[in-house]
Symmetry: C2
Subunit: 285 residues, 2 copies
């Protein structure tokens, strides 16, 4: 059996960023924290905390902290434990910004959200760094269940002024090659995919990079660029004429999935139900 008080020390050091912070949280002395960690490291034959500065977890330390969270989550299902479990979740930015936040209020514990940059969510799930992921990635992960939540529909939008300036003769491969587009990050291929669907060509787009969902939508409203926005986030702007749909007949549909570790599924059930319910209300089937 692992030494759980020592694991708790490691987890608190990671959480608070210092031995003193962990000592305060666990109501012991910093030297007690230090001893516990060293004893655990000796026993496991590996360094768990890089003493820095800055103090930081090693990959092994992170894995143990995530394991402790899972054990606490399982304990919470026994209704015997005093500790509030921490739920490490990966969530894709557009879902968090447009429909998922109210459902997360049903989480049985403290939320620890990481913004899913798509490529990483499933790796985190595999490695045990998160217990569940709200993601557009449908690949199966060993030991995890996957529920299809529905479709988040994206629309290519820009401000009226932007359309008048950059697309006076329509949205074509030629005008798109010159008009600044928006992208969320280097992995955001939605704009390029949509342009290919529209024009049948791969067009190299001039791009602003705006790595927050609300900043991205605001940049479209301000006429900084055109971009693919989730319909629930911009419906009012379309209705109010602040944004124009560049091709109403050509949305881009992105299916979303809730993937979660099977072992913690019973403890996660209230959250899973809330996510399913919110998805039914907000997403397309």
């Amino acid at each position: 059996m692992l030494d759980y008080p020592a694991l708790a020390a490691v987890a608190e050091i990671i959480r608070s960023g210092s031995f003193e912070g962990a000592a305060a949280a666990l109501r012991v002395t910093p030297s007690a924290i230090s001893q516990r960690v060293r004893a655990l490291e000796d026993r496991m034959g590996t360094v768990l905390i890089d003493r820095g500065p800055p103090v930081a977890a090693t990959a092994q330390g992170l894995r143990l902290a995530a394991h402790l969270d899972q054990v606490r989550l399982l304990e919470s299902g026994l209704a015997l434990s005093q500790d509030r479990p921490v739920l490490r979740l990966a969530v894709n930015a557009d879902s968090l910004a447009s429909w998922a936040m109210p459902a997360l209020a049903a989480a049985p514990g403290l939320l620890d959200l990481t913004i899913d940059d798509q490529d990483h969510a499933l790796d985190w799930l595999k490695g045990g760094r998160v217990v569940a992921a709200l993601t557009s990635d449908s690949r199966a992960v060993t030991g995890c269940d996957s529920l299809r939540l529905g479709i988040l529909r994206y629309r290519a939008v820009a401000s009226p002024g932007f359309v008048a300036r950059h697309f006076p003769n329509g949205v074509t491969a030629e005008s798109l090659a010159l008009a600044p587009s928006l992208c969320f990050d280097a992995k955001d291929a939605l704009q390029t995919r949509w342009v290919q669907a529209l024009t049948g060509r791969r067009v190299v787009l001039p791009m602003h990079r705006i790595p927050t969902a609300h900043g991205f939508a605001a940049a479209a409203r301000l006429g900084i660029g055109w971009g693919m926005n989730p319909e629930p986030m911009i419906r009012d702007d379309l209705d109010g004429g602040r944004l124009i749909d560049l091709a109403p007949g050509l949305p881009l549909d992105v299916p979303l999935f809730w993937q979660f570790s099977r072992i913690t599924a019973p403890a996660l059930a209230p959250l899973t139900q809330a996510i399913m319910k919110a998805a039914r209300a907000a997403l397309l089937p």
Copy 2:
């Protein structure tokens, strides 16, 4: 003199994530891209692109790409160049969410924003990875000018239901030790600082981690936790009674700075002026 066409190839590979993407963007063949990069690597005696998979920049490759951006930015000041310069900026999340986005529309080129997690903005500025940073960090950076923009005022807020449930007898060190708080990320010390100012004690707070500015404010509105929110983001919620100020006499004031590389200052001038103007309107002096 550096081989700038080769540098452009390196920068496009980093931007697009592939040799093919770079070839398409620069309208040459992938093998021409490959040759240029190899020749530059041979000349510099260092690897610039890790061929992967996935294809990624080395630290040296990133440095060269950032240098190219700066040269393009300088060229844009000559009004001779056809290339749209890329402006790599670090911006703190709360400023982006609350007041800074309209000012960024004045940027003379394509925006490439990185969310400043405070600790890193100045390192990025020092290393040349960004040309300017909107940050709460006031330390001086060699080769950079720093303008004080004003104060972003934070208020400790929660929903009426949350206040009734967790603070029926007032906001005290004891009730704060049990009531779930919100934090943005591991480095967000605003809640702890405010609690210390209020109670005179260091209290270990149970924390939800919500790493987006709008998600953070939404979590407060939904009664998930209490947290420090920028006043410009939640003024309507306070006026409308959706959020309650836990201690109206005790806001937390965070001064903000615009730090930018002196060499690119003339090219950045329109953006600097727009930032200063927006800050005067939105921030406290």
